[in-house]
């Protein structure tokens, strides 16, 4: 091969390689590594956002203790509906806000508790939260009621609801199957669990509730029930109940974090912590790439609900708590903190602030809330509020 031909060949290869480099980088940027827009936020900004959410819940609470359930901001219309689980969940989030020192959250939560207590009925040897006359009752409201009252107990030290807490716990225990699975519903006629029907989230809620009861009332047997559920969640739930992909279970993460308050996690529980990290992490990275632009709508989809994003933050902040408490999960500490900060930043950025609220007919129903397609639901405030509150220790540099 003469020198001229070789030089031409080299030049051609260099040009082709340069084009290849550019093509690889452009394709990766457009479709694989889009910018992850995790805004840097301070603890003060997160606290302000949480306070705005609490204000939304206070302003939009009825005198009977219920909150505005679903609202269309575009049409300025209350869309009605209600849900016991979400009522208990909001109550829990508000007690958490009160624990974080946010003003007036306790009073609003207590009004919510008043409504909740009126719905307790005898069930499974204890008490369950149920709508009057319902033939079967989902257990989520009861589990979250126990979690909410447990949060109140930690906040106030008031033992006035201890009997109710234990009764809710006994009901939850009655729903546990021998393998640790938790029945989704209670049959009010037969006063028994409805067999073979499971919820993706109620199992984790029952786990968290019973783990909290063990923390509050050690030695009464709550821990054994929590452990049975925890073992089931860690080892077989997704297969037995046919959840695919595996459940993105922030409540299980809460339960694991709560368990570290009274004992170290087992190896299978630590393995489940890793698994949950692998479920929350990619969702957060993906969510952080979503903007309102035409291109990301088509390549990444629309921005997720406030509730959805909030649950991811609840999950990663719980894993951060586990990593901080249990040396076996220490390796997750930095990543859990980074993802939690990311979610907090996204939530602050996407929350309707005072300026944005000015363009709506009813500002008090939009300020401090999260919307998708102009609609918000009470859990769009519940989960972000909890995620923001639980990110505060991370942002404040707790060790």
């Amino acid at each position: 091969m003469n020198g001229h031909v070789t030089a031409n060949l080299v030049n051609r290869r260099v040009r082709m390689a340069a084009i290849g480099w550019v093509a690889v980088l452009v394709v990766l940027r457009l479709f694989v590594v889009q910018p992850e827009r995790c805004e840097d936020v301070t603890a003060a900004e997160v606290r302000a956002a949480a306070t705005a959410t609490v204000d939304w819940l206070i302003v939009n609470q009825d005198p009977d203790g219920r909150w505005l359930y679903r609202y269309d901001a575009t049409a300025n219309r209350d869309l009605g509906g209600y849900n016991n689980s979400r009522h208990s969940g909001v109550t829990f989030s508000l007690y958490s806000a009160a624990r974080a020192g946010i003003p007036d959250a306790l009073e609003s939560a207590d009004r919510g508790t008043g409504w909740l207590l009126e719905r307790l009925v005898a069930a499974g040897g204890g008490l369950a939260m149920a709508d009057s006359g319902a033939a079967t009752v989902p257990i989520g409201g009861s589990a979250l009621a126990a979690i909410a009252l447990g949060e109140r107990r930690l906040l106030t030290g008031d033992d006035g609801f201890d009997d109710v807490l234990r009764s809710l716990g006994r009901f939850l225990q009655s729903q546990i199957e021998p393998n640790g699975a938790v029945a989704e519903r209670w049959d009010a006629v037969a006063d028994a669990p409805v067999a073979g029907v499971y919820s993706p989230f109620f199992t984790g809620e029952a786990y968290f509730a019973l783990s909290r009861l063990e923390r509050l009332f050690p030695g009464e047997g709550w821990g054994a029930s929590a452990d049975a559920i925890g073992r089931y969640l860690s080892t077989e739930r997704d297969e037995v109940e046919n959840w695919f992909p595996a459940v993105s279970d922030h409540w299980a993460a809460y339960g694991l974090a709560e368990t570290t308050e009274w004992r170290p996690l087992t190896d299978v529980e630590l393995a489940y912590v890793e698994t949950l990290g692998g479920i929350f992490g990619p969702q957060i990275r993906y969510a952080s790439q979503r903007t309102e632009s035409w291109f990301t709508h088509r390549t990444r989809g629309r921005q997720t609900l406030g509730a959805g994003l909030g649950t991811l933050g609840e999950g990663t902040t719980s894993l951060w708590q586990v990593a901080r408490a249990d040396p076996g999960a220490e390796g997750l500490l930095e990543a859990a903190a980074e993802r939690s900060r990311c979610v907090a930043g996204l939530l602050v950025e996407r929350q309707i602030d005072g300026t944005e609220a000015g363009s709506f007919d009813n500002q008090s129903r939009v300020r401090g809330a999260w919307f998708q397609f102009g609609v918000t639901q009470m859990d769009d405030q519940q989960h972000p509020l909890s995620a923001l509150l639980r990110a505060l220790p991370i942002l404040e540099g707790a060790t």
Partner: protein, 173 residues
């Protein structure tokens, strides 16, 4: 990522047996080009965290990108024969040795990813080992018959390691 997998990943990304078939026999040019490649990879690795930061990319997401590139490169290398050897005498250390033969997208991206995940040291060791193998192979028997077979082994390893990076990136917290 620990040290040994980091080194193995970089050596596989360099793919010495396949690179050797694409290079001329001028050992001095190959050694100089390898040294230049190492220097550029060292700079990329040193700037790895900064680069990901300014482009708003997290390490796990970057791992996914690296995994995809490795898989594609491995598959392409498996089914496409190497290009004709480019005589170093026609261009020397910079072209064609450094570019386009040694400094390739998969090598640059892996260097960044390894530096971010495992640290600069393992990245430097892996890059040095991979490039030293290229130089050593050219110095010994660059047309050995087993180069082709070894290239296939390395390309297969690249696919396996790429899938590993991909999975590790997707399911990372």
């Amino acid at each position: 990522m620990s040290v040994l997998p980091a080194i193995v990943l970089l050596i596989a990304a360099v793919n010495p047996p396949r690179r050797v078939t694409e290079l001329g026999s001028d050992r001095r040019a190959v050694a100089s080009g390898a040294a230049l490649t190492f220097a550029v990879l060292a700079v990329l690795g040193g700037l790895g965290d900064w680069l990901l930061d300014i482009f708003d990319i997290t390490a796990p997401t970057f791992r996914v990108a690296v995994g995809l590139v490795l898989v594609v490169r491995g598959v392409v290398d498996l089914f496409r024969p190497p290009g004709p050897a480019l005589g170093a005498g026609s261009g020397g250390a910079v072209a064609p040795v450094f570019f386009p033969v040694l400094f390739r997208p998969e090598v640059g991206l892996v260097a960044i990813s390894v530096a971010v995940d495992a640290g600069f040291g393992p990245m430097a060791m892996g890059a040095a080992a991979g490039l030293a193998l290229v130089v050593g192979a050219v110095a010994r028997a660059r047309r050995a018959r087993y180069q082709r077979a070894l290239g296939i082994v390395f390309s297969t390893a690249l696919i396996v390691l790429g899938v590993d990076r991909l999975i590790d990136g997707v399911f990372a917290l």
